[in-house]
Amino acid sequence: MAEIVIEVNNLAKYFPVTRGIFRRKKIADVKAVDGVSFTIHKGETLGLVGESGCGKTTLGKCILQLYRPTSGEVIFEGKDLCEMSDKELVPVRQKLQVIFQDPYDSLDPRFTALDIIGEPLQIHKISKGKEYNDRVAELMNLVGLAPYMAERYPHEFSGGQRQRLGIARALALQPEFIMCDEPISALDVSIQAQIINLLDDLQQKFGVAYLFISHDLSVVRHISDRVIVMYLGKVMEISNRDELYKNPLHPYTQALLSAVPIPDPAVEMNREVIVLQGEVPSPMNPPTGCVFHPRCYRAFKDCPKIIPLLADAGGGHQVACLLYKTSWP
């Protein structure tokens, strides 16, 4: 297997909830991410799925140290990023980049396309003058934008084009890893496919690893090599892509897959939809034992009492569910 680019060990991020004006007393913790471990290999795409509140965006930001994790390690190039100061991280940041969800929000409205794409080059003082302009033009071509548009402002581009700008910016420093935080959710369906193909092509060309965060299971299946399913800050299941979709082990994964409607009326007519009851509980007060048990349609008496371990249930397919012997502590 290809070498490991990023290793995440027991990452946790808690946001304290405080009260009081002068002396802020902590009354609870929002456990956004609660003990997550996985690895990402060179040139692979790791899909991260889950619904809102599951902590996937927080996890992504923690890896990049945009949020500082409460505990755990993020190992990149042999060093733990959590232990490094902001200043020490600056050279490392060249190799770890981000693509955001909102093509409107992720670009400074007062920067031209040239400024936006070239900003990483400017921050790290990499090129100047003609070399700089050439590099930006090259990046624009790579993502399918015409270089003559470099003097335009974000509001003059469409959503899909802005996302391309964001991708060009992420590629400017030839990173080894890009965290893609729901990069296509805000785009139209017909544009989504364009961007997915672009990301695919760029990965083939440059061998960059992606953490692809999304709630869209169909898209994740298309682009990922391996997939992680999260719920309420914890990992429910990790597997390689085909195995997960063909044979989902965790009841949550099964419910998720069943809830996705398929664009074919004939297929839909004959499908059984698993409708989960209730709402996602608050991460301030997660359920005891298995965090999914209140909504689980296969829960039994031990589920509220024992926290299932994330363990290999066979063939590299990890699952955290008491239905499987391997998850019992």
Binding site: L64, R93, F100, D108, I123, R152, E156
Partner: protein
């Protein structure tokens, strides 16, 4: 399979930046343009005062006191025989100078303080904001009077006094802007690229906060001018013989029944200047509001 045709045609609209767009919208606002015109005209007149009138602001013509408007003295004379029109013109210099210099001080203090509080958050923000709250609790005029007695009576100290009291508004505004912008994705992107605090504040946060700051400053100018007028009215503003519209109003007020024009001219002038700035400020606010763009 479908062939890709003209896949990246950008919209064919007139190409301009956000500032350009704001200027276009401002130009369409008649009131704002009238306000701006008036201010510019007054500024030019004030600067060219010696070319417009041959009277000095301190020239006393004791044989011609308290005269009404006439061909010789277009707006009449005051109780010391000084030409009112000349005093109005030179007084405009005072008013405009107050407006501009006080705001300069306000920005020099308010911007960095507000930016630090907003960007750093936490305890720094807490302490700064509590200090701002305390300053807010005192009435402006009282504080200025206090500062005047401490700093001395020159006109520059007047600017300083008004400025030292007025920065809190801007600080709060800047802090609010920066706090709301901090969480935007493009700020996270800049951090992810390796940008540090000062870079992000100067390159991203402040330029995007400028809109409301410009509007606030535009509204603060008439307030500062009025404050100076009020201070001069009660005698602790500009020292005579430097002309001040506030002092002229005070002089005029004493003679309101016998010589109403002495009060009318400076009062109307002050009102018009304040109105002009208010129109301009309103226009700027509408022009710079991104939501009103389309």
């Amino acid at each position: 399979m479908a062939i890709a045709i003209k896949s990246t045609k950008a919209f064919e609209r007139p190409h301009h930046s956000l500032w350009g767009d704001a200027i276009v919208r401002l130009r369409r606002n008649y009131f704002a343009m009238i306000g701006l015109g008036f201010i510019v005209l007054l500024a030019i007149a004030a600067i060219c005062a010696p070319l417009i009138t041959h009277y000095g602001f301190a020239d006393q013509h004791l044989t011609e006191i308290l005269q009404g408007p006439s061909w010789k003295h277009w707006m009449g004379t005051d109780q010391l025989g000084r030409d009112t029109f000349a005093r109005l013109l030179y007084g405009a210099r005072t008013s405009l100078a107050v407006g501009i210099f006080t705001q300069f001080i306000v920005i020099c203090i308010g911007l960095p303080v507000g930016a630090s509080a907003g960007y750093m958050g936490g305890r720094v923000d807490n302490y700064i904001m509590r200090f701002v709250d305390i300053m807010y609790a005192f009435p402006d005029i009282l504080l200025i009077i206090l500062l005047r007695s401490v700093l001395g009576g020159s006109i520059y100290m007047l600017f300083l006094a008004i400025g030292l009291v007025g920065w809190v508004n801007i600080a709060r505004l800047v802090r609010g802007q920066i706090m709301s912008l901090k969480s935007r994705d493009y700020i996270s992107a800049a951090k992810a690229m390796g940008g540090m605090g000062r870079y992000i504040t100067w390159r991203h946060l402040l330029p995007n906060s400028l809109g409301p700051i410009i509007v606030s400053v535009t509204f603060n100018v008439p307030r500062a001018i009025f404050t100076e007028a009020a201070l001069s009215y009660i005698g602790i503003g500009v020292k005579p013989p430097t002309p001040s519209w506030g002092a002229m109003i005070q002089d005029g007020f004493n003679l309101i029944f016998s010589k109403p024009y002495m009060l009318l001219f400076p009062a109307i002038a002050l009102a018009l200047l304040m109105l002009a700035f208010t129109f301009l400020g309103d226009g700027l606010r509408d022009a710079l509001d991104p939501k009103l763009r389309r």
